[in-house]
């Protein structure tokens, strides 16, 4: 099994969007996939509840109270962490994970708080000893804008590889409401989005191969 933890103490940066879409991508690859919900707001669980039954199934794990068992046959686990976690809680989730994804948005405010988060994350043993890969995911990017150029610079200074750049798209709100991921919708709408997501999936898969 490969477990991916999506985390950043900053709220609203795209953790749930990334966790749900990544889980849907694994499921679309026919991997037995589970999505663990740690957030009291239950946003990942709501997404799962809306997911149509014709699509490859994703198992929901309710980790709001405690970190629970992961069924043996699960091949990919995605953990959606809530905002504002304490370091001790991040550390606990970290023991369950093989790869960590940290979403970052293009505001100066987000970059600063992400830097603080990464500094603290870096103190945790598995990260410090480089036993777990930590990747940044640039989110809500508006290509060819000043903001996106500034974000690129800021990301380069954060000292972790950028696994993918996800553009700002209205599509995500729709997907969130209907339990779908970018790989579950056909047609041309999602073509470009899918390309961005392939980068993310490859980064996760290659980091462990």
């Amino acid at each position: 099994m490969i477990a991916v933890l999506v985390t950043n103490t900053k709220g609203g940066c795209g953790k749930t969007t990334i966790a749900t879409n990544l889980a849907a991508a694994f499921a679309a690859s026919r991997l037995t996939t589970a999505l663990a919900n740690v957030d009291r707001q239950r946003s990942a669980m709501q997404w799962l509840a809306a997911r149509p039954s014709r699509l490859p199934a994703i198992r929901g794990l309710d980790w709001r109270k405690d970190i629970g068992e992961v069924p043996d046959d699960v091949q990919r686990l995605v953990i959606d962490a809530p905002a504002g976690l304490r370091l001790r809680q991040v550390d606990q989730l970290l023991t369950e994970a093989d790869v960590v994804l940290v979403p970052v948005q293009a505001s100066a405010f987000d970059v600063d708080s992400t830097r603080r988060f990464l500094d603290r994350l870096g103190e945790l043993k598995p990260v410090r000893k480089q036993r777990k890969g930590v990747f940044l995911v640039a989110n809500r990017v508006r290509p060819r804008t000043r903001a996106s150029r500034r974000l690129d610079q800021a990301l380069a200074e954060l000292g972790h590889p950028v696994a993918a750049r996800l553009a700002d798209r209205a599509l995500y709100a729709e997907l969130a409401a209907t339990g779908l991921g970018v790989f579950d919708v056909g047609g041309s709408v999602a073509v470009e989005a899918r390309r961005e997501w392939l980068d993310l999936v490859h980064a996760v898969e290659d980091s462990l191969a």
Binding site: A25, F26, R30, L31, T32, D73, Q75, L198, E205, A209
Partner: protein, 516 residues
């Protein structure tokens, strides 16, 4: 595997005609190999093939295991499908997805194709012991194409349908007598991948050998020889191409292990058969030696010297250029040796001998009894002898001259290979300390030997150099010899201590302490 011309000669020879038990059948096989844009499957050593045969379609996933082709098992899944696209969901077994990882719809595209005309002959054959066997002999002719590059395919595949497995090898030898034939070192998928990327397969290490504790000596020999052959075959192409110096090195390791095995198992081998493989292995090792020496010089010693003395590094250039030229020539000799039929025969016939238990014929008296003896006692005896031999060679260690050190190094190496074959049969807390100390000792003795060899090579290059480059080559060679002499002094200070530590290590293989 053979040349197209050899295949035609074999097919036309009619050697199998009198053994046919039915009509030959002909099938046109189109295999399309799929991978992602970033060739993730290949990187995971997986191949995904869609085979069209008539109007049926099969999807096959092969996952390459440890050593090499033909003699090693691979995990494999196959399903019949109806569409012409490779839908991984067709495999019901979730383990398939553990192997391939996340592959999203649309990511898989055709990367290379093989088109083969397969002519299959149903054959009945009586082996030398009078036992019947049924086989299918398939002649594959065609091509593998990736983009605009392509190459021909000419292969004979012999598959046992029932009865005596020995028939396989007897037929192989019979066909070999008609025209040159060798064991295929690369499966078709690997050839396609090489065509596609231009990258040769990566050199392979030997991998662990696991022997059954309840095995006989003959069983163990078969496993060990098989693994040596697979290790050698896996490195044939990397060594022939020479893009990575590890290829020649690993092929040499495989042959050395083979030679050690032939010597360690000598009490269970009839002398005539054994000597033949010893001679052939020695021949091929001899063809690889000069190339390896220059590899070590060019890729290891000169760079480390240049790094240690950056100001003088430019003055190594003439030596490096000469060494590179020599290396290319030596590589040419390596490639010619590997391509030669002598090398092809070595592995084909050694494999036949191994699979048939060729050591049984001509075995008499104690040799035969040893073959049937339990492995555990035999292994303990071998380790005992080799251990004592090392101790003897190292007696009065401080006074050993260069030749004495050399003999000690060889004995240590042989003990080391014996342990690679047998150590897993035993358990206990003495195993690791013993292995560690031996490995430490071997490493330093090996480095000392590398130093001695590099001095000879540098000296020879300096002697052979002519013309205006001579003074610079000589200067560089002098630098290298000086630097190596210094390293030799440093190592000398360590080796005595390592020898004493090894002497203090206690053997762990008395049969009473065999792993539970």
């Amino acid at each position: 595997m053979c040349t197209p011309a050899a295949l035609e000669r074999i097919a036309a020879s009619g050697v199998l005609d009198s053994h046919l038990v039915g009509e030959p059948s002909v099938a046109h096989l189109v295999n399309i190999y799929f991978d992602t844009d970033d060739l993730r499957l290949a990187r995971r050593r997986v191949s995904l093939r869609l085979r069209r045969s008539g109007n049926r379609r099969y999807l096959t996933l092969k996952c390459e295991g440890g050593g090499g082709p033909s003699l090693d098992r691979r995990s494999e899944w196959e399903v019949e499908i109806t569409a012409d696209s490779p839908d991984l969901a067709a495999f019901r077994d979730p383990a398939v997805h553990d192997v391939v990882g996340a592959v999203l719809p649309g990511e898989l595209q055709p990367r290379y194709v093989s088109e083969i005309e397969r002519r299959t002959l149903p054959v009945a054959w009586i082996d030398a012991q009078g036992r019947p066997g049924r086989v299918e002999v398939a002649f594959d002719r065609g091509r593998i194409a990736a983009g605009r590059s392509e190459e021909p395919v000419a292969e004979v595949e012999i598959e046992l349908v029932g009865g005596s497995a020995q028939v396989l090898y007897e037929i192989a030898e019979r066909l070999r007598a008609v025209a040159p034939l060798r064991l295929g070192a690369m499966p078709k998928a690997a050839r396609g991948h090489m065509l596609l990327t231009g990258e040769p397969p990566r050199p392979r290490k030997a991998g662990r050998i696991v022997l059954e504790r309840a095995a006989t000596v003959a069983d163990a020999m078969q496993t060990v020889f098989r693994r040596c052959i697979a290790h050698a075959l896996a490195n044939e192409v990397p060594a022939r191409i020479g893009a990575d110096i590890e290829g020649v090195h690993q092929l040499r390791v495989a042959l050395r292990r083979l030679r050690s095995a032939l010597s360690l198992f000598a009490p269970a081998l009839p002398e005539a058969g054994r000597q033949r493989w010893v001679d052939e292995a020695r021949w091929l090792l001899g063809c690889l030696g000069p190339c390896r020496d220059l590899d070590v010089l060019g890729e290891e010693l000169l760079p480390s010297l240049a790094a240690a003395a950056p100001l003088l590094a430019p003055r190594l250039e003439a030596l490096r250029a000469l060494a590179d030229a020599e290396r290319r020539r030596a590589q040419g000799e390596v490639s010619a040796a590997i391509d030669s039929q002598r090398c092809g025969d070595l592995f084909l016939q050694l494999a036949c001998w191994t699979e048939q238990g060729g050591w049984r014929s001509a075995a008499t008296g104690t040799v035969l009894a040893t073959q049937q003896a339990p492995l555990l006692d035999f292994a303990a005896g071998v380790l005992d002898r080799q251990h004592r031999r090392v101790r003897k060679r190292g007696r009065r260690f401080a006074e050993l001259d260069a030749a004495g050190r050399h003999r000690l190094r060889l004995a240590v190496k042989k003990l080391r290979y014996a342990l690679e074959f047998f150590a897993d049969l035993f358990a206990g807390k003495r195993v690791d300390p013993y292995l560690d100390r031996l490995a430490d000792l071997q490493e330093v003795l090996g480095e000392q030997n590398d130093i001695a060899v590099s001095r000879l090579v540098a000296e020879r290059l300096a002697t052979d150099a002519t013309g205006p480059a001579l003074p610079e080559v000589a200067f560089g060679a002098g630098m290298l010899v000086g630097w190596q002499s210094h390293r030799a002094v440093v190592l000398e200070a360590r080796v005595g201590r390592l020898w004493e530590e090894f002497r203090a290590a206690r053997p762990f293989w008395s049969p009473g302490e065999a792993a539970a």
